[in-house]
Symmetry: D3
Subunit: 136 residues, 6 copies
Amino acid sequence: MVYLTRRERFNAAHKLWVDEWSEEQNFELFGKCSNKNWHGHNYELFVTVKGTPDPVTGFIVDVKKLGKLIKTAIVDRVDHCNLNLDVPFIPKGMQPTTENLVILFWEELAPLLEDCELHCIRLHETENISAEYYGE
Amino acid sequence: MVYLTRRERFNAAHKLWVDEWSEEQNFELFGKCSNKNWHGHNYELFVTVKGTPDPVTGFIVDVKKLGKLIKTAIVDRVDHCNLNLDVPFIPKGMQPTTENLVILFWEELAPLLEDCELHCIRLHETENISAEYYGE
Amino acid sequence: MVYLTRRERFNAAHKLWVDEWSEEQNFELFGKCSNKNWHGHNYELFVTVKGTPDPVTGFIVDVKKLGKLIKTAIVDRVDHCNLNLDVPFIPKGMQPTTENLVILFWEELAPLLEDCELHCIRLHETENISAEYYGE
Amino acid sequence: MVYLTRRERFNAAHKLWVDEWSEEQNFELFGKCSNKNWHGHNYELFVTVKGTPDPVTGFIVDVKKLGKLIKTAIVDRVDHCNLNLDVPFIPKGMQPTTENLVILFWEELAPLLEDCELHCIRLHETENISAEYYGE
Amino acid sequence: MVYLTRRERFNAAHKLWVDEWSEEQNFELFGKCSNKNWHGHNYELFVTVKGTPDPVTGFIVDVKKLGKLIKTAIVDRVDHCNLNLDVPFIPKGMQPTTENLVILFWEELAPLLEDCELHCIRLHETENISAEYYGE
Amino acid sequence: MVYLTRRERFNAAHKLWVDEWSEEQNFELFGKCSNKNWHGHNYELFVTVKGTPDPVTGFIVDVKKLGKLIKTAIVDRVDHCNLNLDVPFIPKGMQPTTENLVILFWEELAPLLEDCELHCIRLHETENISAEYYGE
């Protein structure tokens, strides 16, 4: 079993905000992340798949195909978007935290992989914060 | 003459959008950067000052003081903000491009430096794009 | 189960030196790391916790709180310190190798986490050397 | 159990090419990687071993000895080489993909480790693509 | 005057080899870089242009257009190529050193820039070696 | 004129401390950097030389020779050392700040270069702080 990781990047705006809370309550928990006018990030996305290298091609997956799948399933739908407003697969009212995003990205990508198995979605929000999800 | 550089970071939302243009015109020039719901970046800011090291302290500037000045003059006013809406020193209607930001940041910071001279403002918007300004 | 990682940094001096050994024996095993006048590193510390995102906040942990805990438990006690002399939780005579430090850091931090579980302590001593510990 | 990782680097040329296929077939699957005149990469190799820190030295392995072993077993035999032509332990006709290389590197290095156990071979071909192998 | 830098990347094979010299002479000066079967690198290319931000668009240049020009003039002609054999604008027999490449890249790109002026070509061959050229 | 940059790295301990001042005065200016038991850094050193590429070799300097010169003149004399105590060319009592070090390194290296001219010494103390010196 070999694990192959491909990095993709996207830029997006978001805020952390619970509608049922007051501005003060939102600020108390989320701090500056609750700014009603949004802030944003350069996200780095690492997708890891696993499988056995094909004896002829040496591939566990065609990494260019994998890149296209990641773009179709995730990057093209979040890049230069507002994660609270623009992305159909992020439920309205769900906080677009790094933790929630890795789960949502898994659910979009996993069903599309045919030749190999999804192993991990890792997402870096800043150089200091990242989250990982292994499907359960 | 020695040059000292300090890095700071901030996260912000913005869009590129000319009010006088139609949505199509904006999209034609600015592409996805014109998304009306904003996108955002992790900005890396490099401030370079120049001077002669003090014979006793070895400093051309107290780098902690410099860091505080950069925070007061720039970072605290843009971090987790919307660059089109929230920042008093960015004129309304001016595009918050990396090119414009380095000039605006220079104008905010330069007058506050006392012991050394500002040499360069460099700003990275992504790992692939950065701008520099030397004051003229 | 989602894994969240937060990076912190600190700078410290240390040396590798066994008191019971001669200078030659120490140099033979530890090389330049045995210099009696110390050397030092910029350490990068990655703390990974695991848990389930809260359905309202999207957090497995408040990452700002986590940052403060890491600072209180570890970073503030080792930053700009001498790891052989200044740190109460590093036993005298224990080598401050990257391998030992990840275990000691785990023991300081794990009992303080309330809302989530510590998963991994990773410490980079240089860009070429790092160690990880998973609690057993 | 502590995990220690050491990074080494090497530069090499290669191409992806199945002799039994036509130039068109090779280009269809491998794209520009099938260029008959080769291309190349700066590879980053991360070797992770596991063990218990020695109570006296604090080492799970002497990291300088580990570095020398990695150089002898792998780096000196692939650095500034052509991975399709110059490396005895890469079978002729096997594609030098990142996936295949991590398995081959494991097989060269694992038998040479005496004081600790090999845990993982990770190889980065570009900043966007890497592979990992855990020995099975 | 503002300076804008765009990074592009490419992977290529090359060797350093003077035809008029013996294999020993080539090895004496170029070391492993003279391997007759080639080696290769992940190159990082930084192109810096200068100009005044447009008062309406905030651009000194449309960075997407600039990216396309760099791709057309340089990256598409060297990516996944052999720098000694495949690139028409590298004279046969000229060593494809980082120093020579920055000059050649300047000569290809400078005439194509219309709205702004080329300021610097910087090329990283490895994380330890880079070259810069300012047009004279 | 082409500029060639080579990176080297070293690890060292130091403190910032003026003997004529009290502990309180030292702490007031230097903060944690005045810890009497030292702290340390992973330093990154970038040496830039300038010259014209040789028409036969494509070199402005043999980069391996340059690397050896940098090691002999600087790196081997500061690596795994205490910058306040162990380095003959750092005057006793002079603060080993990044600003002072770039000047001292210039003075050690410049006289040894024969085939090319020293252009810049850049030294990174942390990922956030660096200094540059151009010889005057």
